[in-house]
Amino acid sequence: MSVRWQTIVALMLASLLAGCGGDTSKARFAENSALAKQLLPKARKAVQKTLDDHFGSPLDSVAWLKLPVNYGKAEGTVKTVDGQKLSVEFNAEASDLESLASPELTRAGLLFTSGSNAGKQVLLAKFDSKNSTFETLPGLESAPSSGDQFVAAGHFLRHGRKLYARHCQHCHGVSGDGEGTTAKYLNPRPRDYRLGVFKFTSTASFPAPIKATRDDLKRVIALGIPGTYMPSFVPMLKENELTAVIEYVRWLAMRGEIEKGLVTELKGEYSKDRSKDDGIDKSLETYLSETYPNFVNEIAGEVGEKWSGAEEEGTPIIPKKPRPQDTAESRHRGKELFLGNKAKCVNCHGPTGRGNGPMTEDFQKNPDTNETYAERGLYDTWGQPIKPRDLTRGIYRGGRRPIDIYRRIYAGIKGTPMPGNSQALSEDEIWDLVNYALSVPYDSQAPKSPKPHSVAEHSMDHGHAN
């Protein structure tokens, strides 16, 4: 056998032994290195440690109870015991037992809260959600007895992670950074959750932008985003699976935001550019031991509050008046607003709505850094070039219902140059714009320059057409 063949065979054997995936037990969430590299190495390490402590790794995640994430919790009571088999009863609020039943999740186990095993955890071999029976793995010193109470928790997070890994990760990345393996082939790029910004929401943007609600995320996963690579995941994902994925995505978003918050805070005093005298090391040490732990809690509280704020009742924007009749007059008023100086739609969307307004030909400034972009055109918060929607195509990424278009105009599209108009425009004006925008793809039916008598004819047609 020639040396070359020997080498090839040896390499093949080596790769067989090593497996393809490498050592998965060391899987980690990627650091937001663009941010973190601005810090002193010690400060950078501190941020990483904080994140590891409070979020863990993809395969060994930590449920940080300070965050408004539904990690899944099920309390129950043991009814009968037969060796390792426990027949149990869950209390009424026990959430999503099917997530708990998923075979790879049962190893999470349960924690006894009363009886002789109180405070002890036992791993499960099997869980049958239909008959509510467990099979535990050996490990308890004394057998549980009827009436013992237990709690199982965190199953949403684990179920969500598993589903995320299967369906979402190849685009959105392990840490939700939008840098999955297929991401580089996609335009537009997959969402980077780490800013905590989602574009298509039902929530207001004034005075401060409100986060996406669970329902908003659900809508996007269920219906997909036409015009992008985000497909619909229903009916493939069932209701309980959607819930679990949504919680996991929210959790990743909060993780990214907290990471950003920590880096931003540390950057003030401990950026990489600081001269490395003795003082700074010492001051960093003092800061990390005294002030930093509180700050971590503070920022987690802040981020958490924003996300739980989105879930408060009445958050989704609902206009005070229903959509008015879609008449030629209304469309015409909408068109005048569209072209006019009050709404300024034309600046980006162009006079015919093709998305080719003058702003797209101009050099724009980054609102965060105040620097002018190197290339012409508009950019989003993630630094990607972005085009205003071509309204003639009839493709509505955030949904085509009147309420969707209304919300887009009212609150803008978060993370993009599309501004909210809740202050600039009245409800009636927004509805006129909705009627106009929805009519643009069907240009033969759009109102021509109106003559008083022809308007009446049109309105009759459209009354039926809608």
Binding site: H170, P231, I317, I318, P324, Q325, R401, H464, A465, N466
Partner: protein, 269 residues
């Protein structure tokens, strides 16, 4: 060693029969009997071909096994080489040709009823129920508004759904199949409908579901890395339910934050 080869060749027909006999119990066969009359005819064609193949396969294997077995015990007789035999060549060229020609002719009426537009059931071509557009990696569906006809170009009152095709039972319906990007295949395994979707073409498909229920709608053409995600469903339901579904879809699509009864636009409709 000679007997080994004999047993080796005899093993495969037996394995094939055992495997086929086990298949239905393990769900490796058709997903139940076809729910359409046309599908049953397609199944019949499949079984006819299966029978022919089985007979030929087992026949040739048994003949091969017999020859090997006999030769293994026969040390006296000399081999007979038939290479270049004109008669044999004619027989095994003509016999398969006859079988193939028979199949080609025999299946023609099924093909005609399934694919030839002029033979589509009455009423299907005039009013397709929906346009189904495949794209990476989902099925986007466009229905005409209740009481309207589907137009080639989108209309302002069209209704949209994704991955959720509804169709009435008991009558033949037609959909228009399109693709937005690459080649996909519209596959309703329970109804035995499979048709490639080709970018730039509008391909009509008709089917007549006889039974109500939820059925899988899959992509049967490897269309990219997310191919497995193209897993939609067909809801076959009674005509009234289908019309109700369209009305519900319409109400949802016109949702403006108010219940349908309060809305000015909808009241005057």
């Amino acid at each position: 060693m000679r007997k080994f080869w004999c047993l080796f060749f005899m093993f495969w027909p037996i394995a094939a029969i055992v495997y086929s006999a086990m298949s239905p119990a393990y769900g490796w066969w058709f997903p139940g009997p076809s729910l359409t009359e046309l599908g049953q005819r397609i199944d019949n064609l499949f079984y006819l071909i299966l029978i022919i193949i089985t007979v030929v396969f087992i026949g040739t294997q048994v003949a091969l096994g017999y020859a090997l077995w006999k030769a293994a015990h026969n040390k006296d007789e000399k081999s007979h080489f038939s290479h270049g035999s004109h008669n044999l060549e004619v027989i095994w060229s003509v016999a398969p040709a006859v079988i193939l020609l028979f199949l080609a002719l025999y299946q023609m009426d099924v093909w005609r009823d399934f694919r030839v537009k002029a033979y589509f059931p009455e009423g299907t071509i005039e009013s397709p129920i929906a346009e189904v557009t495949a794209r990476q990696f989902e099925w986007r569906i466009r229905y005409p508004a209740p009481g309207k006809k589907l137009q080639l170009k989108p209309q302002p009152d069209d209704l949209y759904a994704v991955n959720d095709l509804h169709a009435p039972i008991g009558r033949a319906v037609m959909i228009q199949l399109r693709s937005e990007d690459v080649q996909h295949a519209f596959f309703l395994p329970h109804l035995r409908i499979k048709q490639d979707a080709i970018p730039g073409q509008v391909i009509p498909i008709w089917f007549k579901a006889e039974k109500k229920g939820l059925f899988e709608l899959l992509c049967a053409e490897l269309c990219g890395w997310g191919h497995y995600k193209m897993r939609a469903q067909l809801t076959a339901e009674r005509e009234v339910d289908f019309q109700d579904y369209l009305k519900k879809l319409q109400a949802d699509q016109n949702y403006d934050g108010f219940p349908a009864s309060d809305s000015v636009a909808k009241k005057e409709e």
